[in-house]
Structure formats: structure tokens, C-alpha cells
């Protein structure tokens, strides 16, 4: 493998025998994704616990737009497809394909983020902020952290495309692309869960059935009675 070292810095690492039989970087990536399940699990649990508990609007039914978000969900699914194409191109050493599909993935991810920025702004204009009610708090925290994951993925992909531009990605360094792909697909499956929970299931939640002018008397009053 010595003749390969000038092509890639990672190649020798990849060839290390490991006790698990799995490349260590790859195992680490999966362990990280596994732990990220717990991270999103807690945020999802928080959303579920406080679902339908807001006393003041806007409530999900007032502002959640399922059709628009279905489109952005499609965009993210497309990006996952672009990602597998990028990895395939890397394995087949098609240099043009590597760059094209990496950039395509990043581009679709950026469109997804664009939808999110638009949505967050719209919600803010319609009176839902992170401190407005329990819905706002849990919604923005959960989707915001997901958006941050996507953004990080975009930076990662652009970095790879930059490296690929110098012809440094190929079958020997396919793991570099594969790891980014694992991360990217993971972000996609997290969205699959969020989309189902917040939009398809929770998107039509209304406020308390009673008097809309019923709000906690004041923070002090509320705390004073606890």
C-alpha cells in the first residue's frame, strides 16, 4: 500500500487491522450517531411532554404549514439521494461526479435551511417566538438543533468538495465521503421523525378549549401559587 500514501493521508489508517474488524473512524461515527439519538430523543420527549400545554397562542394549528414543509422534506430526501451518488462516484473514481454530487447535496441542504429560515421568520412575524409559549420553546429548540446539524453537514460537504477539487478524493479515500454521508443521512432520518411528530401529528393541535383571554395572571402570581 506504500505506493498509495502520496495519494491520500488517510489510506494507511484505513488499512489498520482492528480488534472489531471495523475501521475505527467508522465505528466512532456510528457511536456518535447512536449517542445523537439520545440528544434528539430528549428534545423530542420535551416536545411531547409539553405538547398541547400552551396557554397562549399562536398554537400549532394557527401557523404550522404542512404543505410547505412537505416540500422541504422532499428536498432533504433528494439530498440524501445526491449523497449516495457522491459516494458511488468516489468509489468509481469519477472525479467530476464526486464534486457535482457533493455540491448538489450541499445545495439541496441549503435549500432546506432556506425553507427553515423562511418558516422561522414567518412564525416570528405571526407572534411565535421561543419565549411565547411552550409550543414555541419546544418547537424552536428541536427544529433549531436539527437545522444546526444540517448547517454543519453543509460545511462538511463543502469542505469535501474543496478537497475533491484538487483530485484528492477517490476509492482509497472513500471513507472520508462515507462518514460525511452517514452523518448526512442521520440528519435526514431525524427530520423524518420531526416531520411526522411536529407537522403531521402535532401540526393541528389547538389551544385550550376555554376562554382565549385566559392566561396565567402573571409570572409572579403563577410562581407565588406553586
Amino acid at each position: 500500500m506504500a505506493h498509495q500514501t502520496e495519494v491520500s493521508h488517510h489510506a494507511p489508517e484505513e488499512e489498520h487491522p482492528t480488534s472489531t474488524g471495523i475501521n475505527n473512524r467508522k465505528l466512532l461515527m456510528w457511536v456518535f450517531l447512536s449517542s445523537d439519538c439520545l440528544f434528539f430523543g430528549s428534545l423530542i420527549a420535551t416536545y411531547m411532554v409539553y405538547r398541547g400545554q400552551s396557554l397562549v397562542g399562536p398554537y400549532p394549528v394557527d401557523i404550522i404549514d404542512v404543505p410547505i414543509t412537505t416540500i422541504s422534506t422532499f428536498v432533504l430526501l433528494c439530498s440524501s439521494f445526491a449523497m449516495v451518488r457522491a459516494l458511488a462516484a468516489t468509489n468509481e473514481d469519477r472525479q467530476g461526479g464526486i464534486i457535482f454530487w457533493l455540491l448538489m447535496t450541499a445545495f439541496l441542504g441549503t435549500i432546506f435551511i432556506g425553507f427553515q429560515v423562511y418558516e422561522f421568520n414567518l412564525f416570528r412575524e405571526e407572534g411565535l417566538r421561543i419565549d411565547t409559549n411552550l409550543f414555541g420553546t419546544t418547537f424552536f429548540t428541536l427544529t433549531g438543533f436539527h437545522g444546526a446539524h444540517v448547517t454543519l453537514g453543509i460545511v462538511w460537504l463543502l469542505g469535501l468538495a474543496w478537497i475533491a477539487r484538487k483530485g484528492r478524493l477517490g476509492p482509497k479515500t472513500a471513507l472520508d465521503v462515507e462518514l460525511a454521508g452517514l452523518y448526512w443521512h442521520f440528519v435526514d432520518i431525524v427530520w423524518i421523525v420531526i416531520f411526522t411528530l411536529i407537522y403531521l401529528i402535532g401540526g393541528f393541535d389547538t389551544g385550550p378549549a376555554g376562554d382565549p383571554s385566559l392566561v396565567p395572571h402573571s409570572i409572579t402570581g403563577f410562581l407565588g401559587l406553586i
Binding site: T20, L55, E92, F186, V193, P216, F222
Partner: protein, 270 residues
Amino acid sequence: MSSDHGVHESRHPTLKQYVIIAIFLFAITIVEFVIILPEDFRGQGWTIAPLAILSAIKFAAVIFFYMHLKFDNRLLTWVFLGGLALGFAVVMALVGLFTAWTPSPRAFAEDHAKPCTLDHELGGCLEDPSKAVVAPTPGPAPAPDDPGTAPAAAPAVPAGGGLVDTGRQIFITGAGEGAATPCVTCHMVEGVPEAVGLLGPDLSHIGTEAATRQPGVSAEDYLAQSIRDPESFIAEGVDRATPGLMLAAITAGLTDEDVDALVAFLMAQQ
């Protein structure tokens, strides 16, 4: 790890398979969307199960094919499914803890909520807009103020009586039947949940401040005078010390004992 160059390729699905999976994922998303398309179906409890199952299928398709767990070392599958199971357990545990054994946050808040006409400019509730002498900024919309719906939670007065508690009571509810606007309508006092009025000065620390208002006038005397004859003196440099709001008529019905009790209560607000 094998040093065979083709090892990755041979273990990955072909382009055709990838396309089929992509179409499959699209199709499921469309089905999900169609499920909640009819207005009667939206937010219905029965939609949860099919939506959750369809999502789980999508989830599995992505991790097993796009993330090629199916073609990879079994250990990776266990590493990931282990974390996923743990995450799922966390969700179930938290949801169980917060919903099964404790009253819902909303039920709690509703129990302790009072009807309120929000006045955004004042940044608080207009306690009783109809009774406020002059509302500098009338509420945005006259609320359907049906007294019948008011939960009217009886103010929790600590037992023990005493002049301070009597004063606190008068401060909150006004003196006797048919009393004029209670003080809490206009004044806020920290630690008194009912006192959130924002028309007059904050009286949270009036016990200490009162002595500084008029040179040569003791705190008690100043307070008693402010109550008996509110229009005689307007404190300077005090937020929301607007003349013409705390009219003599508001306090005219108070007896000397009432005033003493109020002064004792206010003196306790250090």
C-alpha cells in the same frame, strides 16, 4: 479490513437500487401527506399509528440502504440500534413521568389562571378595566368580561391575623362590601400575587422609600397621608406617579383602622 479496492463498491447497492429506494421514500411521504389531507382526519388520534409506522419504514430504509447498515458489519447495527433503543426509552420514560404521575402543566396553569385583559402597552393585565378611574391606554379590545367566568381564586392570606395581614387583605380586595377600586388594580407589590397593577407606582419597597419622600415627614405619616389624601402630594422622580389617578374618592371609604392596617402592610414592604 480487506485491502481489496472493490470492497466498498461490491457491498453497496447499485444505482438502480438507490433510485428505487428514493422513489419508495418519496411515495411513502406522499402517502403520509394524503393521510392528513382530508380536514376531518387532521390531528385525529387514529392517524398517529399509520403515520408512525410509515415513518419507521422510511427510517429503516435510510439506515439500512443509504447508510448501508444492511451490507456492513453487524456490530455497527447493534451500536446504532442500541443508542436508538436507549433514546426511545428516554422518550417513553420522560413522557410517562410527566403525564402519568403528575397533573398536566396546562391543567395546573388553568387552575391558577385568572381572566385577564392584556394591555400590551402597560405590559400587564388590566385588573378590572371597567373600574379603573382613568385608563391612560385603554385595552386593545373590550374583553367579554363576563363576571360569571371569573374563577375568582380567593387570595391566599397566611393565617395568623395581625395588622399586616389585615392590611394585605384590604390592599387586595378593598375594604368591606362595595368598596372602591382595590389598591392592587394600580399597584404592584412583589410577593403579593394579586398585586400586579401597573397604573401606579411599584410599592414593593415602599416601606423603605416612604421616609425619603418628604423631608421631615416620617414614613408612617407619609403613607397615611398618601392614602387619606392622595391628591395632596405627588412623589417626584417615581415611575408611573401620574397625578389624577389615585383620587381621593378611591380611599374616602376607608376607616382609620383600615388606613392603619394598610400603613402597617406597606411598612412591611421593605
